[in-house]
């Protein structure tokens, strides 16, 4: 990781990686969605609404993975003062917030025909909404701190403390009685029949690549911006 303490070295890796991730992500997402929307059978109870899963579940995973990434970047920032950690945290937040929002919206659209309600304040739904609000808070805080010339330590603390929401989301359906069903895919296997399940990993992997591409693009943009600012400052001083 310390290899990338030098932004030039990071960019050497990030530039080609962005394009690859974007291409592979689009391919896998297309394969997963075409499979999920046309080739799989409907569910015996839900009927066709089951297909929302192919977007909802990867979005939920990435919404949570995004904050796990922020927490990792926060540790790198607080412990090693890694120069790219704050940049990474700021780049992860909008992508994670977007996927959390997609998860909430698709879940709501699924809930109406399945449960008979758009929204209920059960443990899973509420903790996921809180995750979305945490993202908004992080984006505002990290942006404000950067504008004042801070190193991103306050945002890192927020990112670390906010991570306590992740186990709450995960265990909410296991420990609490919720309207949301329990987890279908665990270490011991899946309670989703394989004929319905197979496009899900494709879509999840595809979404993940797109997520990675978006994060790398934002990091590169911020590094480029910093370079321009430094150059202008130097020019003004001369």
């Amino acid at each position: 990781m310390h290899r990338f303490a030098n932004p030039a070295r990071f960019l050497k890796f990030a530039r080609p990686a962005t394009g690859w991730l974007l291409a592979i992500g689009l391919l896998l997402t297309a394969a997963g969605l075409i499979g999920g929307l046309t080739l799989t059978p409907p569910d015996y109870l839900q009927g066709e609404t089951v297909r929302i899963m192919y977007v909802h579940v990867p979005a939920a995973w990435l919404g949570m993975a995004g904050w796990a990434g922020i927490a990792g970047a926060s540790i790198a920032q607080l412990v090693w003062r890694h120069p790219l950690a704050a940049v990474g945290g700021r780049a992860l937040a909008p992508a994670g917030a977007t996927f959390a929002a997609i998860c909430l919206l698709t879940g709501s659209i699924w809930g109406r025909p399945t449960w008979g309600t758009w929204w209920e304040w059960d443990g899973r739904l509420t903790s996921m909404l809180i995750l979305f609000f945490l993202y908004l808070g992080y984006i505002a805080l990290a942006g404000a701190e950067r504008e004042r010339g801070g190193e991103g330590r306050i945002a890192a603390l927020f990112g670390l403390i906010g991570a306590i929401n992740l186990p709450i989301i995960h265990y909410s359906v296991l420990w609490w009685r919720t309207l949301h069903q329990g987890q279908s895919i665990g270490v011991s296997g899946s309670s989703i029949d394989s004929s319905i399940l197979w496009p899900l990993p494709l879509a999840a992997l595809g979404f993940t690549c797109l997520f990675g591409a978006a994060v790398l693009m934002r990091m590169r943009a911020e590094l480029a911006e910093a370079k321009v600012e430094a150059r202008m400052r130097r020019a003004a001083a001369e």
């Binding site: 015996y44 089951v50 449960w115």
Partner: protein, 149 residues
């Protein structure tokens, strides 16, 4: 060993994370009953749900218990959780996924005669997903794990 600032900070962050994680898991475990979205029939029979107070009741719709009243809009059915059963009466349109042997959450009040008068019914889906031909067989003899929690 000389404690370098980097290592001190690492130890501090790890300790803080462990402490916070422990606190959250303990709090979640402790809040189990309060954070529950609904009461089970066993809770209701044990008197945990106060009569006349708006609560939710969740469980499985007992097979063969769904009956429609003569007025055509009132439905009566038993909600069970393997330990106890409670009679629910509901006036209104049931959700599409309302099935015998399937999960349900009823919102309403417990009447003094221990029937649950619902003013809203939500269908609860479980974590099993399968194609129609498999599902209809499985639904005959399997009860979702959903309830056991």
């Amino acid at each position: 060993m000389i404690a370098r600032p980097k290592h001190q900070r690492l130890v501090l962050v790890v300790l803080a994370l462990l402490a916070v994680l422990g606190a959250v898991l303990l709090a979640m475990w402790g809040l189990k009953d309060r954070a529950a979205y609904f009461y089970t029939p066993a809770d209701v029979v044990a008197g945990k749900a106060v009569a006349g107070k708006a609560v939710r009741l969740g469980g499985m719709v007992e097979r063969g218990s769904v009956k429609r009243d003569r007025d055509g809009v009132t439905t009566r059915f038993m909600v069970e959780d393997g330990e106890a059963r409670v009679l629910v009466s509901y006036r209104g349109i049931l959700p599409d996924l309302f099935r015998e042997g399937s999960g349900v959450v009823a919102e309403g009040k417990l009447a003094p005669d221990q029937t649950f008068v619902a003013d809203n019914i939500l269908a609860k889906h479980d974590e099993r997903y399968m194609p129609p031909e498999l599902g209809n067989q499985a639904a005959e003899h399997k009860v979702g794990r959903t309830l056991k929690r």
